[in-house]
């Protein structure tokens, strides 16, 4: 009996509490940096595309919404000829981001992607590619990789030692 009256009173006190609702279109919610929203393709610190068209994101995607075609430039550096994400299929699971070896594909805290036409949900590379580095700054895959694709010379990369002269007997 007493507990009934007490619960009525406590409910009444909620009239003076702050409301939890965020009035969305006027007031934007806070989204943490790791929020899984709109997918972007980032660039390395030199301004080149990070994507090496390895197809790992397309393979990891559980709904097969990513499609791309690999190509090579004159230095032998790989890049995607086209890169297409069908956001009407995408479930924003973030597996593509986990699979990416070069931090190229990233999910961002943006979810305002509503469209009236389903065809507009298909994003091409020029829609996906941004001019910055996204969440991971200062990382350049080709600076750390061993092979020379016109980004750095042989043995000049980060944490890389000069090549060993195999014909020399000197230590």
């Amino acid at each position: 009996m007493f507990s009934i009256i007490r619960s009525i009173w406590y409910t009444f006190l909620h009239a003076f509490h702050k409301r939890e609702t965020i009035l969305y279109p006027e007031e934007k919610p806070y989204l943490p940096a790791r929020y899984r929203g709109r997918i972007i393709l980032s660039r390395d610190p030199d301004g080149n595309e990070r994507c090496v068209a390895c197809y790992l994101c397309a393979a990891a995607c559980p709904v097969d919404c990513i499609s791309l075609q690999a190509a090579e430039d004159e230095n032998g550096r790989r890049y995607p000829e086209f890169f297409r994400i069908n956001f009407s299929r995408c479930i924003f699971c973030g597996y593509c981001e986990e699979a990416c070896p070069t931090y190229a594909i990233q999910l961002t805290p943006d979810f305002e992607m509503g469209e009236y036409d389903r065809q507009n949900m298909v994003y091409e590379k020029e829609h996906l590619l941004i001019n910055g580095e996204g969440k991971y700054h200062g990382y350049n895959f080709y600076k750390a990789a061993g092979v020379d694709f016109g980004v750095k010379g042989k043995g000049e990369g980060e944490n890389e030692q000069p090549p060993v002269d195999t014909k020399s007997l000197m230590p």
Partner: protein, 314 residues
């Protein structure tokens, strides 16, 4: 001529309050649950009621082919009719009432008993097991609570020495009946909630168990009638609480009497909504046992003590 105007006025006020309560209830529930409720349509979401009414009028008014059609159509009308008839004897002020009846309290009790028919017939005509279960619960609950709903008012009637609601209010000039009749007030409040089957006593509807209870098969404006009927019932019970125990239109003279009446009624409507926001639904057998084993004896003892004291003081 004046009488027709008063009837039209009462109908307008009562139906406006009932429709407005749809909005008020949602806003108040939002307030007590730390959210907003409808606040988009018009200023503060006030025209939400209009939007809801347009929606409900344009919904398909479907009568199930397996139902008992005439009874099915009649049931919601009975609910509205009985409650609106009861408002005829409710005195808003000493001059503003439709019918100054000497048996107003009995009229109210009789009409609320008739209201059971609407629920029972609606549930039975739906030809649906959940509706029937809801209707059976509703009939048992309303019959149980009607017994001491009447008995709880008898203390007030004895003190005012009249069944006339106007005389009952006039008799409270020296002091509201809430003080000598506190037990009667509590019992009437509980019985009133059960009678309108509002939460926490919405066992006939019990959406967790019975889909929507007796009005599962209703749609469109027929459902709307049950919906508005519920709010009319809340308004009626609140108005009667204000009249019986809180001195109706009596109050300090800086506000006109009618304002006092609506303030008191509004307070109890808000209290009904607060109950909805805070209390869970009891089990069916718990409801019955509390009714028969606690509230009925309490009501009888209340009558006995009131009568004895009145005789002693005479």
């Amino acid at each position: 001529m004046l009488n027709i105007l008063i009837i039209a006025g009462v109908l307008f006020i009562v139906l406006t309050i009932a429709a407005g309560l749809i909005y008020v209830e949602r806003r108040l529930l939002g307030l007590w649950q730390d959210r907003y409720g409808p606040n988009r349509v018009g200023p503060f979401g006030l025209t939400q009621v209009v939007a809801d009414m347009i929606k409900i009028f344009f919904k398909e008014d479907w009568v199930p082919p397996f139902s008992d059609r005439p009874v099915f159509v009649m049931a919601p009308a009975i609910l509205i009719a009985t409650i609106l008839l009861t408002f005829a004897v409710v005195p808003f002020t000493s001059v503003f009432n439709v019918l100054d009846s000497n048996i107003a309290v009995l009229f109210f009790l009789g009409n609320s008993s008739l209201g059971v028919y609407s629920v029972v017939l609606g549930g039975w005509a739906s030809n649906n097991k959940y509706s029937l279960l809801g209707a059976m619960r509703a009939s048992a609950q309303m019959l149980t609570y009607e017994v001491f709903m009447g008995l709880s008012l008898m203390g007030v009637v004895m003190m005012a020495d009249s069944f006339n609601l106007r005389d009952i209010v006039e008799a409270q000039k020296t002091g509201w009946f809430i003080i000598p009749q506190f037990i009667g007030f509590v019992i009437f409040l509980i019985a009133g909630i059960a009678e309108t089957h509002r939460l926490p006593f919405d066992i006939p509807e019990a959406e967790g168990e019975l889909v929507a209870g007796y009005h599962s098969e209703y749609s469109g404006m027929k459902f709307g009638m049950f919906f508005v009927g519920e709010y009319l019932g809340v308004t009626l019970i609140s108005a009667l609480i204000a009249i019986m125990f809180f001195g109706g239109w009596l109050g300090p003279s800086f506000l006109p009497p009618v304002v006092w009446f609506f303030l008191k009624t509004g307070f109890f409507i808000c209290f009904f909504i607060l109950l909805r926001a805070s209390l869970p639904r009891p089990r069916y057998d718990q409801l019955m046992s509390v009714g028969w084993k606690i509230l009925l004896p309490l009501a009888l003892i209340n009558i006995l003590v009131t009568g004895a004291l009145l005789l002693y003081l005479k």
